[in-house]
């Protein structure tokens, strides 16, 4: 846990809340910019992709076990399994890979 844990959580909570509250409290109109609407649509995928790669390869004891976990995760996600299923399966594959390799 980082030394500034409380500050980190406070920043997360305040920023997240303000994004939700300010438009609801103040705005009544629809965004006119199509580019901005499309940009906002693509944001979650871009941010999660950038956050996952390449950081995932240093998330376990070895890049090789992480690679096995990623492969399993992508395969199950491709089959549209749920969040918990994909996460647990990736962990299980890493666990097994680190015992075998």
């Amino acid at each position: 846990m980082p030394d500034n844990f409380f500050l980190q959580v406070a920043v997360m909570a305040v920023v997240t809340y303000l994004i939700r509250a300010v438009p609801l409290a103040l705005c009544r109109g629809r965004l006119q910019s199509r580019w901005l609407r499309d940009f906002l649509f693509y944001v979650p995928y871009a941010v999660l992709g950038a956050m996952t790669f390449p950081a995932v390869f240093s998330s376990t004891a070895s890049p090789l076990s992480a690679l096995c976990g990623v492969a399993a995760g992508i395969a199950l996600a491709w089959m549209e399994k749920g969040l918990l299923t994909v996460a647990v399966a990736a962990c299980a594959v890493v666990f097994i890979a680190e015992r075998l390799l």
Partner: protein, 236 residues
């Protein structure tokens, strides 16, 4: 017409709460794997109530990111809520005042927003408050139990748990990437840029937190510019 039944809201929120339980259970496990105690995981969930933002915050904390990087990342990753809140403001009973709107905004998650939007006519305060309850309880309880379960797991499982958060990210991004070619391209561009920065001397001058912001702005910006969406797709 105004949908204003508390019981109806409570009922509509229950399946959301059950769904949140399993996601936040995984968040609790991830938080403990990242070195956050059970109460810390609960604090994050009960003050944020957002999946992608919390997972991002956790990985940034683990990477030792600065508060400014944390704030910017939360802003970028959660910016979509601004659109939902904008839309919800049109849907709420106009009689609902500012103070109550500020309370309702706290739980404007993707799913709560989706269900509220699907009601016929306007949404009243009693319905919305009923709708908020089960998702908040499910999100909080799942986190605590997940973190508690993660704490008692043997040390041998710790390394394996490190990948849980990324497994969840994959489960969020892969299905839409499979369905929409434009999403796939945006995703691949973001991954390419992120790896490019991390695996070249650029990583000396760009921190991991700032790299995520740069890659997001570039990939989502390019996507909006190169692959404008048809009106029919915008419902998604």
């Amino acid at each position: 017409m105004i949908q204003n039944s508390f019981r109806k809201g409570l009922g509509d929120g229950t399946p959301i709460g059950l769904g949140y339980f399993s996601v936040s259970f995984a968040f609790g496990i991830s938080a403990v794997a990242a070195g956050v105690p059970v109460w810390g995981a609960a604090l994050i969930s009960m003050t944020n109530v957002t999946s992608a933002g919390q997972f991002a915050g956790l990985s940034l904390m683990a990477a030792g990111a600065s508060l400014a990087e944390q704030a910017l990342t939360q802003f970028v990753i959660n910016l979509r809520y601004a659109l939902m809140s904008l839309s919800l403001s049109q849907k709420l009973d106009p009689a609902i005042g500012l103070l109550e709107r500020l309370i309702m905004a706290f739980l404007n998650t993707d799913e709560v927003f989706a269900v509220a939007s699907s009601q016929e006519g306007m949404v009243g305060r009693r319905y919305y408050y009923g709708l908020m309850i089960a998702p908040y309880l499910g999100w909080s309880a799942g986190t605590v139990l997940g973190a508690a379960a993660g704490s008692v797991l043997p040390a041998a499982a710790r390394s394996a748990l490190g990948i849980a958060i990324y497994g969840m990210f994959l489960a969020i991004i892969i299905p839409p990437a499979k369905k929409f070619p434009a999403v796939r391209r945006v995703l691949l561009l973001a991954v390419f840029l992120s790896c490019l920065i991390a695996w070249t001397p650029l990583s000396q001058v760009i921190s991991s937190g700032f790299s995520i912001i740069l890659c997001t702005l570039a990939a989502a910006g390019a996507g909006a510019w190169l692959f404008p969406r048809e009106e029919a797709e915008r419902q998604g």
